[in-house]
């Protein structure tokens, strides 16, 4: 049913109307723990964009050319997570050899990404929504950018409120969740523009 969706619609839809973090809650764990500083958030966000875009492409190919012909769709959880883990490992090794600067900036975030549920979530959504190859790539890319935007915004806001007086029980995760709720409210303003589900 989503065969006719334009790649551009999927791309913008996954950034704004269906933001993977704010409307599907994926990647909350690292979102809450890493968003303390803008610099680290940028690093993690960039790594997420890259890994998400490529793994959604890889998983689409594996799913449609390997699992479906063999009738092994039910193994997709294991296969997807292995593809993601293997890819992350590979990228880490390549980056380490090729560029020290990039490794210093992104290297430490890569292992964290394997267990980031947003990455696996994108691959699973792609299967459920029955995207084409091109749309899957743009969905992965858009979701990554959406996640990046959300974590940068959160890091910025958290920096602003670092000196504020917050009720005792709300310090830390509590206030972060409330801010995330407000951001989700703001992003709901986009809903209705494009429907990608």
């Amino acid at each position: 049913m989503n065969g006719e969706l334009l790649p551009a619609a999927v791309f913008f839809g996954s950034i704004f109307t269906g933001n993977i973090l704010l409307s599907n809650y994926l990647g909350m764990c690292s979102f809450l723990s890493v968003s303390k500083e803008i610099k680290t958030s940028t690093g993690l966000g960039a790594a997420v964009i890259f890994v998400m875009a490529v793994t959604s492409l890889l998983n689409w190919i594996v799913y449609h050319y390997l699992l479906i012909p063999l009738g092994l769709e039910y193994l997709r959880f294991i296969v997807f997570i292995v593809v993601i883990a293997a890819f992350v490992q590979l990228v880490e090794m390549i980056i380490e050899r090729v560029s020290e600067g990039l490794y210093a900036a992104l290297g430490i975030f890569l292992p964290l990404i394997t267990v980031n549920c947003a990455i696996l979530g994108v691959s699973l959504f792609m299967v459920i929504r029955d995207y084409s190859l091109v749309n899957s790539f743009f969905f992965g890319l858009g979701s990554g950018i959406g996640w990046f935007l959300a974590i940068i915004a959160m890091a910025g806001i958290r920096k602003k409120i670092s000196g504020a007086k917050i009720p005792k029980g709300l310090e830390g995760p509590g206030i972060t969740l409330i801010i995330a709720g407000m951001m989700a409210l703001a992003f709901m303003g986009f809903s209705g523009m494009i429907n990608i589900t």
């Binding site: 809650y25 764990c29 997709r76 959504f125 029980g169 409330i178």
Partner: protein, 197 residues
């Protein structure tokens, strides 16, 4: 021995609760709690997975080489999640449809792997089983409380039965994304406030 088992059972329910103290596994906490019925199914799935994964990993803990430990952990979890997925698909197709990718995302739920790393890796199978079960329950009851309020305020129902009747205006924000963030934040606030006393 017996007292240690009891202690293992009780700590994850209160002062080391995975959700509101360790802030783990938030993704699914937020995503599935808009209806109580879905939440119950999800909670049972998580309890099943975390109990048996901890148990299995604890049995194998001495034969797994340290270098591939994470990979083996992921595969153990994925195996149990596939079982949950197939059973749900066969017996509760409607709920399976609504939960969508979130069943698969139990794999990346930090609670499961967190308990394996933190507890099952250094404890005998029996205790690990109890720890897995207790963490699952500790996670589950928080989800149920949140789902209770979200469904009650958002749809005016509990488990689909109308509670308030016609005069009630649904707080539709509660069943949407921002509501989840706010309810969890308030929950953490209340619990932390009580703990300080």
């Amino acid at each position: 021995m017996a007292s240690k088992a009891v202690k293992t059972l009780i700590t994850p329910l209160g002062k080391e609760n995975p959700v509101f103290v360790q802030i783990l596994g938030i993704c699914s906490t937020l995503a599935v709690t808009n209806k109580l019925e879905n939440t119950i199914v999800m909670v049972l799935g998580v309890i099943f997975t975390t109990t048996l994964s901890s148990f299995t990993f604890s049995i194998l803990r001495k034969v797994i080489p340290a270098r591939i430990r994470m990979m083996v952990e992921t595969l153990i979890i994925a195996t149990y999640v596939i079982i949950v997925d197939i059973v749900l698909k066969a017996y509760m197709p409607e709920i399976w449809q609504q939960l969508g990718p979130y069943v698969g995302l139990i794999i990346t739920n930090c609670i499961v792997m967190g308990r394996m790393e933190a507890f099952a890796a250094s404890n005998p199978p029996g205790l690990s089983l109890i720890d897995g079960l207790a963490s699952g329950i500790g996670y589950g009851y928080v989800l149920l409380i949140i789902a209770f309020f979200r469904e009650l305020l958002g749809s005016g129902t509990i488990l689909g039965f109308s509670v308030f009747g016609d005069w009630w205006t649904n707080w539709s924000i509660m069943v949407m994304a921002p509501g989840a963030f706010f309810v969890l934040a308030i929950f953490i606030w209340v619990v932390k406030g009580r703990m300080e006393e």
